[in-house]
Symmetry: C2
């Protein structure tokens, strides 16, 4: 956000309160538009998330929506960031077995279930991203997941090639793949969860 | 190919020899252009494979190249089909341990090495496809690989979810992923092969 980039200079160059208030307004407006977008996506589905619909819901001009998010892809990316942030909180700082405190085997089992359920809960949003942007927006999210899984694999068994094993495990949880299996092939989430557990248990044995 | 679509009608509607000769000419011309394209790709790299260069190499008009392959993407797809066909011959009908005759564990080990080496040998071509068409052309190839790996997993251990395990294993060998690891991350092929063996051995234990 451009507001942050100027924060270091503001003290000496301009009156203290002005930029602070402007920044706070901008942050508040952005959050307000994002909340409106979440409501539109939940009510009408991500496929019907238009800049017009979001502007109407947030009771702001369409220009405000464009200014904060660039375009529809940027808006969906921001919604996904927010959703992904909740998931990350769970595996980075949440209670065990997903968060710190459980052994790596249990955490890995919980991680797969959490990702599968999370994407199911936000399937409309993840589906829109996979369709619209060829997974461009899932890349930073994937990096956080990758770092986490690599760490767990390393703790689990230092003889494994943790990086490549992490790619394999994340390949199973790949959004485009699970979308294909659940939506196009009609598999049940239970089946994917069971296969994840079997995979982790076999790798850990 | 349009030649094949009219084959059933040709006997009663037109003199017997004419369409046969036309079809044979068309097949021969197509093969000749494809051979030329292979030489251009091998000599100049797939990135420099243009319709003009292929027409010049095959000593035919540019229109002939377009008629047989539609566009550059179609031409690269045809080259990839040919390369993929060689690989398929190896795992479907070739000698063990890759082909029939070895036990499924050995065949699975050999399959990963074969795919990794094959794509390395044709890396320029696979790379062009991944970049140009977002993997559209690897989809039929993936289906054959998927059927094969599902069969091996089923033979190996009927208690595994063979379909999901096959997706996991193929995720490791995914062209976009191996391209990323080998080209952008600078990993060695040996390392990928070793991790494939470890993965298969753990899943089979």
């Amino acid at each position: 956000m451009p507001e942050c980039a100027s924060a270091g200079l503001s003290l000496s160059l301009v009156p203290i309160n002005e930029p602070g208030r402007q920044r706070a307004d901008a942050v508040r407006n952005r959050a307000r538009v994002l909340d409106a977008a979440m409501r539109v996506a939940a009510r009408d589905g991500a496929a019907n998330l238009t800049m017009d619909a979001v502007a109407a819901e947030a009771k702001v001009g369409k220009g405000t929506v464009f200014r904060h998010f660039g375009d529809r892809t940027g808006l969906i990316g921001a919604l996904l960031d927010q959703a992904e942030h909740e998931l990350q909180e769970g595996f980075l700082n949440g209670p065990p077995p997903l968060g710190p405190g459980a052994d790596p085997h249990q955490r890995l089992l919980a991680f797969g279930s959490a990702v599968l359920h999370h994407e199911q809960d936000h399937q409309d949003l993840y589906h829109a991203v996979v369709k619209d942007t060829h997974r461009r927006f899932t890349v930073p999210a994937r990096q956080v997941r990758y770092t986490h899984v690599t760490m767990l694999v390393r703790q689990l068994d230092p003889t494994m090639d943790a990086e490549l094993m992490a790619h394999t495990l994340l390949g199973f949880l790949d959004t485009a793949l699970t979308n294909h299996l659940l939506r196009e092939r009609g598999m049940k989430l239970d089946r994917l969860e069971a296969a994840w557990k079997d995979l982790v248990n076999r790798l850990c044995s």
